[in-house]
C-alpha cells in the first residue's frame, strides 16, 4: 500500500474512533451493525473469495460464537469481552471438525454440506433446551452503554481487514488463490491444498465467532431462528461479491454500501425492502460478477492489496 492509502486509512480510523462522541445513538448502532458486516463479509472472503470454496453456512460460526458468548455470560458469569472473544474458540473448533471432511468436497457439494451444517447446529441448539434455552433462547441483562461494543466490533472489522491484507501479500495468500484458479495444477506443483484450505477455513471462522459473541451481548437476547438465518450468510456473500471477492477492500466496500442501502430502503419502503434486496442480488450476479473492485482492478491494473 502506498503512504497515501495508509494516510487515508488512518484518518478514517481516527474519525471512526471519535465518532461516537458526536453522533446520535442511532448512528452508533448503525455503525456497529456495519462493523459486524465488514467482519463477516471479510471472513467469508478468506475461505470463499480466496479458495473458491463457497460456504453457504458461514452464519453457523456466527451463531456458535453468539451462543458461546451468551452462555459464558449467563451461566458462567464471564464479562462480555472475554465471553465474546471465546466465541472464536468454539467457532474454530467447529470449523476444524467440519472442514476436515467437507473441504474434500468440490464445488456445489461443499456449498450444500455447509448449508446442512448450519441446520444441524441450529437443530442441536434447539434440542438441548435445558442448556441453551431451546426455541425461546437466552436473555442477557440489557446493556447500559453501546460504546464499548462499538469499539469491540470496530476492532474486529479492522482486524479482519488487516488479516486479509497480510494474507493477500503473502505466498500463503497466493497459494489460496491458486486453489481457486486450478486446484489440480496447484497440487501438481507441490502445494498441499488440503492443509491450506483447512487453514483458510479456520481463519474464516474465527472472527464470525467473535462478532457473534459480541452480538449476543449487544442484542441482549438470542434464539436459534434469529441467530442462524440463511439470509445472514447470503448477505455476507453478496457484500463480498458486490465489493470484489479475493481483494482486501472489496468486502469492506460491499458491507458499507449495502448496509447503507439496506438502511435507507428499509426506512422508506418497509414492505418491499426484501424484494429490493433480492433484485440487487440478481443485479450484482448478472452485471458485476467480479464486484466493484474486481472491475476496477481489471481496468486499471490495480494490485489485489489496494
Amino acid at each position: 500500500m502506498k503512504p497515501l492509502t495508509w494516510g487515508i486509512g488512518l484518518l478514517v480510523l481516527a474519525a471512526l474512533a471519535i465518532m461516537p462522541f458526536f453522533v446520535t445513538s442511532y448512528i452508533v448502532s448503525f455503525t456497529i451493525q456495519t462493523f459486524m458486516w465488514v467482519a463477516l463479509a471479510g471472513s467469508w472472503n478468506l475461505i470463499s473469495g480466496f479458495t473458491g470454496y463457497v460456504s453457504f453456512g458461514h452464519v453457523a460460526f456466527f451463531g456458535t460464537g453468539a451462543y458461546t458468548g451468551a452462555l459464558l455470560i449467563s451461566k458462567a458469569g464471564w464479562p462480555w469481552l472475554p465471553a465474546g472473544l471465546a466465541g472464536s474458540v468454539t467457532a474454530a473448533a467447529l470449523a476444524l471438525l467440519i472442514g476436515y471432511p467437507c473441504l474434500r468436497l468440490k464445488g456445489p457439494y461443499f456449498a450444500i454440506a455447509m448449508l446442512g451444517l448450519n441446520e444441524v447446529v441450529r437443530a442441536l441448539i434447539s434440542y438441548f433446551e435445558d442448556f441453551t434455552g431451546g426455541g425461546s433462547g437466552i436473555s442477557l441483562p440489557p446493556i447500559l452503554s453501546i460504546e464499548p461494543v462499538y469499539y469491540a466490533m470496530g476492532l474486529s472489522a479492522v482486524s479482519v481487514t488487516l488479516l486479509t491484507y497480510v494474507i493477500i501479500t503473502s505466498q500463503f495468500g497466493l497459494r489460496l488463490l491458486s486453489i481457486r484458479e486450478d486446484e489440480i495444477a496447484a497440487e501438481a506443483m507441490g502445494i498441499n491444498t488440503a492443509r491450506l484450505k483447512l487453514y483458510a477455513f479456520l481463519l474464516s471462522a474465527v472472527f464470525p465467532g467473535i462478532v457473534g459473541g459480541f452480538y449476543a451481548w449487544y442484542a441482549s437476547h438470542i434464539e436459534p431462528l434469529g441467530t442462524f438465518p440463511l439470509l445472514t450468510t447470503i448477505t455476507m456473500i453478496i457484500m463480498c461479491l458486490f465489493g470484489g471477492k479475493g481483494t482486501v477492500w472489496g468486502p469492506v466496500l460491499g458491507a458499507v454500501l449495502l448496509s447503507v442501502f439496506q438502511e435507507l430502503v428499509w426506512a422508506r419502503f418497509l414492505f418491499v425492502h426484501q424484494a429490493l434486496f433480492g433484485a440487487l442480488i440478481v443485479a450484482v450476479v448478472l452485471l458485476l460478477p467480479k464486484g466493484i473492485l474486481g472491475v476496477l482492478q481489471e481496468r486499471y491494473r490495480l494490485p489485489r492489496a489496494i
Partner: protein
C-alpha cells in the same frame, strides 16, 4: 531394482470402467536423459503422466522414483520429491499475474525466488508481461509460462505434455534449446509430443504406447522403422 534408475514403472495398469487405459506398462528411465513418449490419440500417454504424478491412482503395478515407491502418494508430495509436469490442456492460474504464477509455486519466498522467477520469465521473453494476468496471455505464451512454472519448482524429473503445441516458430527453437539445456543441468525429461520432428530431434530414446500398452522402445531411428509403430499410427 536398479538404483541407477530415476524412475521405474512396473506392470502399471489403470482401468476406467471397462476401458483399460494403461495395461501392464513398464518403463525404466535413467537420469540425465531426454525421453519421448509417443502414440496415437487415446493411447494413454497423458494417463501415464497422471499415474506417475499421482493425479490418478493405479489399479495394479508400482512406480518408483529414485528407488522409492511413490504410487499412493498425494500429487503435492510427489511434486516435492522432485517430479514436475506440464499439462496438455494448459493449467495456469489465469487470474494471477505471470510473475505470481511462478512465485506461488516457488519453494522459498524472498528476493532470490523473485530474481529466479524474473530470470525465467525473461528467458521465455515474458518479462515485459510479468504484471499481466496469465489468462490474458496468448496460447503460446501460456504454454511457455507453464513450462517456466515447472522449472521454478526445480524438479529432477520433468514430464512435458506437448510443450511445443501452439508455440510460435521463433520461440520454439528457444524452447527446444531450453529442454536440451535441462539435460545439461542434470535433469531427466519425458516429452509427449505429436510433432514427430520435435520429438525425434530431442529424444535419445522413445517409448511408444498403443491402447495403453507399450509396443516399442528404442532410439528414434529404430522406432521410425518399427513395423508395429508404423501400423499403430497408419493402420495396416
Amino acid at each position: 531394482m536398479r538404483d541407477s534408475l530415476i524412475l521405474e514403472v512396473k506392470d502399471l495398469t489403470k482401468r476406467f470402467g471397462g476401458v483399460t487405459a494403461i495395461s501392464r506398462c513398464s518403463l525404466a528411465l535413467e537420469p540425465r536423459r531426454i525421453y519421448g513418449l509417443i502414440g496415437p490419440n487415446g493411447s494413454g500417454k497423458t494417463t501415464l503422466f497422471n499415474l506417475i504424478t499421482g493425479l490418478e491412482h493405479r489399479d495394479e503395478g508400482e512406480v518408483r522414483f529414485k528407488g522409492e515407491r511413490i504410487d499412493g502418494l498425494k500429487p503435492h508430495q510427489i511434486a516435492l520429491r522432485g517430479i514436475g509436469r506440464t499439462f496438455q490442456i494448459i493449467r495456469i492460474f489465469p487470474e494471477l499475474t505471470a510473475l505470481e504464477n511462478l512465485l506461488v509455486v516457488a519453494r522459498s519466498t524472498g528476493g532470490a525466488a523473485r530474481r529466479r522467477a524474473l530470470e525465467l520469465l525473461a528467458f521465455v521473453k515474458l518479462d515485459r508481461l510479468k504484471g499481466e494476468y496469465a489468462g490474458n496471455l496468448s496460447y503460446g505464451q501460456q504454454k511457455l509460462l507453464e513450462f517456466t512454472r515447472v522449472l521454478i519448482l526445480d524438479p529432477e524429473l520433468i514430464l512435458l505434455d506437448e510443450p511445443a503445441a501452439g508455440v510460435n516458430r521463433t520461440l520454439l527453437n528457444d524452447l527446444l534449446e531450453a529442454i536440451r539445456g535441462l539435460k545439461e543441468q542434470g535433469k531427466t525429461v519425458v516429452i509427449v509430443e505429436h510433432d514427430m520432428k520435435v520429438v525425434m530431434g530431442l529424444s535419445e530414446k522413445l517409448f511408444v504406447l498403443d491402447y495403453g500398452e507399450k509396443i516399442a522402445e528404442g532410439p528414434p531411428e529404430a522406432i521410425q522403422n518399427d513395423e508395429r509403430v508404423v501400423e499403430a499410427y497408419f493402420g495396416r
